[in-house]
């Protein structure tokens, strides 16, 4: 029986969807395997005389954290001022501008601080990680590590993962502090509220739970950025073009994963 063009189209579409779903499941599985291997090398590695080198972790921390301080300060300040501007504008409709501090405090600590930091780190360091591992794969450097008896997960992935887990929450704290401070300056200028009053309000409004909510999310984002960067880098095919593609994929997937996780996290935590 000959199939009609519309049947062919449906067949091809179903096949393409199937392949995409399978590839996605495969990629998620690889992420899980990489994560499990990272834990293995972190905790079992030292017992079999193959520890994770502290100097590699520090190098990564400098790259991911210290080198990002300037851009995170700028971003934090911009987000803080932007929230203040929008908050005052919206609340002015009800004549409640003075309540803007509540919105600024909660949205910076619980939402924008962790989110913007994670997106910046994904764009800056997640892409860098994918490009580095992709290039190493193409240049046979990963094979070289393997045949030298050096496990690439222990040598490359665990240091990056540990550095992310430490530096993303640290950068989030910086971003929150700078964001609140710059918002305070804007509120002082716009509404005439003193910095002391602004700070007191912030302290009264925020609880430890709010801070833990933000930092908890940033910890999950850190793991996502590292694992997605590594999996994309390791899946590179072709030459320089392939590295470019996986770098872009890593950034897109990381940001999508961060935003979706953010929503799920907020939903779960606020319902508990």
């Amino acid at each position: 029986m000959e199939s009609s063009p519309s049947n062919n189209f449906l067949h091809r579409a179903a096949e393409k969807t199937g392949r995409t779903v399978i590839a996605g499941i495969e990629e998620a599985g690889t992420c899980g395997v990489i994560l499990a291997q990272s834990f293995y090398w972190l905790f079992i590695g030292p017992r079999i005389r193959q520890p994770v080198r502290l100097n590699h972790v520090i190098t990564q921390m400098v790259e991911i954290g210290l080198h990002a301080i300037f851009i995170m300060t700028i971003m934090g300040a911009t987000i803080g001022v932007m929230l203040a501007i929008q908050g005052i504008y919206a609340l002015r409709l009800f004549g409640a501008e003075s309540r803007v501090v509540i919105g600024i405090a909660l949205s910076t600590v619980r939402e924008f601080g962790p989110l913007i930091t994670a997106i910046m780190v994904a764009a800056r360091s997640g892409s860098g990680l994918a490009a580095r591992i992709g290039t190493m794969k193409i240049n046979e450097e990963l094979d070289a590590l393997n045949v030298m008896g050096i496990n690439p997960v222990r040598f490359l992935v665990v240091p990056a993962l540990l550095a992310m887990v430490v530096m993303v929450p640290a950068l989030t704290l910086l971003s929150i502090y700078v964001g609140l401070y710059s918002a305070g300056l804007y509120v002082q200028w716009e509404l005439g509220m003193s910095m002391t009053a602004f700070t007191k309000d912030i302290i009264n409004i925020l609880s430890l739970d709010d801070l833990l909510h933000g930092l908890g999310k940033s910890l999950i984002f850190a793991v996502l950025i590292a694992v997605i960067g590594v999996v994309n880098g390791a899946s590179v095919k072709g030459g320089a073009e392939g590295v470019g593609k996986v770098t872009t994929h890593a950034v897109v997937q990381s940001i999508a994963a961060i935003v979706i996780t953010d929503m799920v996290f907020a939903l779960v935590v606020t319902r508990l």
Partner: protein
């Protein structure tokens, strides 16, 4: 007894350090190794030759256990790598050195740090001893003045020599070299050949060299294995290979293009893909 017969007898007496038995490998549906059998003896230089795409590099990757065969077995130093756990395999790999075609030095480390890397990861030595050992290997490959440079600052020949230094820094029992002289000028290539022979003679290593450089192969080989289309079609000494009557081997040695005329109809069939030559109304 002739020289060749003596050589063969000596090879039989030496222990086998690599044994590849009936190895079959696939890339997707395509069979890339078709039941390969090859063994390398202690202190022997085995050259694996063949044209591009013949399966040389795939065979090397299977010998290094970077890929596992569909069937068959690869034994390195009497241990079956296909059946080994990851930990045992990593231990075994400390007795193996590999100089990759591209050098594969880590671009974020200096040449000296690259060469010292296996020592820092595996040897329980103090820093000073490791530095001395590294400098010795740099001296062996003639790069003692370039240890502080980054890999990107080295020429092609220097990269290959640095890769060789890293491959031998742990004094491995087996050394693998993937295309050591490709892309090099004749003088540098010849110096690398001499270095490989010296490593075998002085350090007693068994060496496997993958190459399609005929001159280099003749200079260094104890035996040559010729690979074509995923199969080893001949293994023998240099003189045996030179005398072999196979057209493929002679073309390979004489750098001639493969002979063989294609019938016009067959050519068109290949182009059209479905064999519908008649549809073209020729």
């Amino acid at each position: 007894m002739t020289n060749q017969a003596t050589k063969k007898k000596l090879q039989k007496e030496r222990a086998k350090v690599i044994e590849v038995t009936d190895v079959v490998a696939h890339y997707g549906p395509r069979m890339v190794l078709k039941g390969v059998n090859i063994s390398v003896h202690e202190g022997e230089i085995m050259v694996i030759m063949g044209r591009s795409g013949s399966g040389k590099s795939t065979l090397l990757r299977h010998m290094l256990a970077l890929e596992l065969p569909t069937s068959g077995a690869v034994k390195l130093l009497n241990q079956n790598v296909s059946a080994m756990g990851a930990e045992a395999l990593f231990d075994l790999r400390r007795d193996i050195g590999v100089a990759f075609q591209s050098g594969a030095l880590l671009s974020s480390l200096t040449v000296e740090q690259n060469i010292m890397l296996p020592l820092t990861e595996h040897a329980k030595l103090d820093r000073q001893t490791m530095e001395i050992m590294t400098r010795m290997k740099l001296e062996v490959v003639g790069l003692s003045k370039f240890g502080h440079l980054m890999p990107s600052q080295l020429s092609g020949g220097m990269l290959k020599r640095a890769a060789l230094a890293r491959a031998i820094v742990m004094d491995p029992k087996i050394l693998f070299c993937d295309e050591p002289s490709s892309g090099l000028d004749p003088m540098t290539a010849s110096a690398l050949d001499e270095l490989i022979i010296k490593l075998r003679d002085v350090l007693g290593m068994s060496v496997v060299v993958i190459t399609h450089e005929v001159e280099s192969a003749f200079n260094i080989a104890d035996r040559i294995a010729v690979v074509d289309d995923g199969e080893i079609i001949f293994i023998g000494t240099v003189s045996e290979v030179k005398k072999h009557k196979s057209t493929y081997i002679q073309n390979l040695l004489n750098r001639s293009a493969e002979a063989g005329e294609i019938h016009p109809e067959e050519y068109l069939r290949r182009l059209t893909g479905d064999g519908s030559v008649k549809d073209l109304n020729l």
